[in-house]
Amino acid sequence: MNSSSKAFSKAVLYAVLAVASAVFLAPILIVVINSFKGKLYISDEPFSLPDGETFAGLENYTSGIEKTEFISAFGWSLFITVFSVLAIVIFTSMTAWYIVRVKNFFTKALYFIFIFSMIVPFQMVMFTMTKTAAELSLDTPWGIILIYLGFGAGLAVFMFCGFLKSVPLEIEEAAMIDGCNPLQTFFMVVFPILRPTAITVAILNAMWIWNDYLLPYLLIGSEYKTIPIAVQYLRGGYGSVDMGALMAMLVLSIVPIIIFYLFCQKYIIKGIVAGAVKG
């Protein structure tokens, strides 16, 4: 290929990428623009910039935060996500180590059942899980952490087991001979080796739990609202929808995710790839 046709094909590729980027970014940008317009102007002319007449300043944000109790929703989302992810990473890695190191019929069966749970869609257990959890008084922000541990166990145990199978026994045995009990061995020797998988598991579960709507809605939604519940409540709870407040809440839901993404991008992308290969 000569250099001018190479330059041409490069230009074409950049053009494709530029158009694709515009398509990917435009929806978010349009929502941001509309969040600064008066609520009555949004549905009528969603693609125009705010002008002197339609500009509403931060009014949508203040009314939206008030109507949805956004601050408390943000707090509950953060609380549930952080503690559920911690519980999943710690407890399932321990379980996976036990399954891989203690080989008997019971651990094999357990492993199989955990994997099986991964393909069961949520709707299958939606109703019965909600009833069971309510029966055991687990319909609280603390109780939901236990539920997330149970639901997240399948994928997490699977991923930890996959990694642990390639970890040599010698290091652990050395620790045991040095007088460590299994708990000390696990947390001082094994868990540090598991770090890359732990990060992958943490990221995949954080993305799921932070954005999850139906499970927290059914379990604790009437008393405690997470961010997705608050957004849906704004839409469903009022006779006529306050488009301004909705736009502002969409922006406020996206901003923390984008900040998190830009800071942890390296780990997120790595986690996705590692998770996919294991799956």
Binding site: P27, I28, F91, V120, P182, W210, L214, S253, V273
Partner: protein, 278 residues
């Protein structure tokens, strides 16, 4: 080994959570699909009556076809576009990382929020024709397809990029030396070697599309008159907005589970066969 005695510490917490959140509800769910109930405690055995009702329920059949059509279209478009973007971003162009960042971003946004973002935009476009997204089911259908593409392309692209980067470059060079054109290289070298990525991407898009709920609820909520309700939403509606139909809802959920399980196994078995050893 001493570890065995530590069962209560290492396994019990996960196991108890798993039994409460999954195992008991799963078994109970299968049992309840053969009963008529409102509060679980009042369940009356009715045999396969719920399954007959489910299959003769127009909403359910409509949701099933809508979901199948949606899944087929989404799986094809998402994977095709993701693969094209991945092959462009593995050519060593400057700025690759920025583009990757942009394309991946929508994936992190939750389904409810995604639904309302696209509702605004699609309604804005349709407004020029004087209608809204709930005017005709075909708008809802294509709206969901666009939304799904926007959300999943970046994710699949990242997996394809990793797959393409793992191909040893001497294999590509060798095929060029042998006189293969670009299309032949793609078909006979690249695609067979990234088959593991294709397997996992097809699996993820297939199951994600089939199980879609949040996006469906936020974008159209099934309107007009339940015609754009997918399976998950139809099951939800049967449970929570139709008193006395809880058993039918549970039967629909069991059918849903069986379909998802069958699709997963068949798809994994089919594409695993095509994978080659590197």
């Amino acid at each position: 080994m001493a570890l065995k005695k530590y069962f209560p510490v290492f396994v019990l917490p996960t196991l108890v959570a798993f039994i409460i959140a999954f195992a008991v509800p799963f078994v109970l769910g299968i049992y309840l699909s053969f009963t008529e109930f409102i509060t679980v405690a009042d369940a009356q055995w009715v045999g396969i009556e719920n399954y007959i009702k489910a299959f003769s329920n127009d909403d359910f059949i409509n949701a099933l076809w809508f979901t199948v059509r949606f899944t087929v279209v989404s799986v094809i478009t998402v994977n095709l576009i993701a693969f094209i973007l991945a092959s462009i971003l593995t050519k060593g162009l400057k700025g690759t990382n920025i583009f990757r960042t942009v394309f991946f971003m929508p994936n992190l946004i939750g389904g409810i929020v995604l639904g309302y973002i696209w509702q605004l935009i699609i309604n804005g476009v349709l407004q020029t024709m004087g209608v809204t997204i709930t005017y005709d089911p075909k708008y809802g259908f294509w709206g969901l397809v666009i939304l799904m593409n926007w959300q999943l392309i970046g994710y699949m692209m990242v997996i394809y990029i990793a797959g393409i980067q793992n191909i040893p470059s001497d294999l590509i060079d060798a095929s060029k030396v042998d006189g293969a054109n670009r299309w032949q290289t793609l078909r006979n070298v690249t695609v067979p070697l990234i088959m593991p990525s294709i397997t996992i991407c097809l699996f993820l898009t297939l199951t994600n599309s089939f199980k879609l709920f949040d996006q469906n609820l936020a974008l159209t909520a099934g309107a007009p008159s339940k015609q754009t309700a997918m399976l998950a939403l139809d099951i939800y509606n049967t449970f929570y907005s139709r008193i006395g139909w809880e058993g039918v809802g549970q039967a629909k959920a069991v059918i849903f589970f069986v379909i998802v399980a069958v699709i997963s196994f068949v798809q994994l078995a089919l594409t695993r066969k095509r994978e080659v050893e590197q």
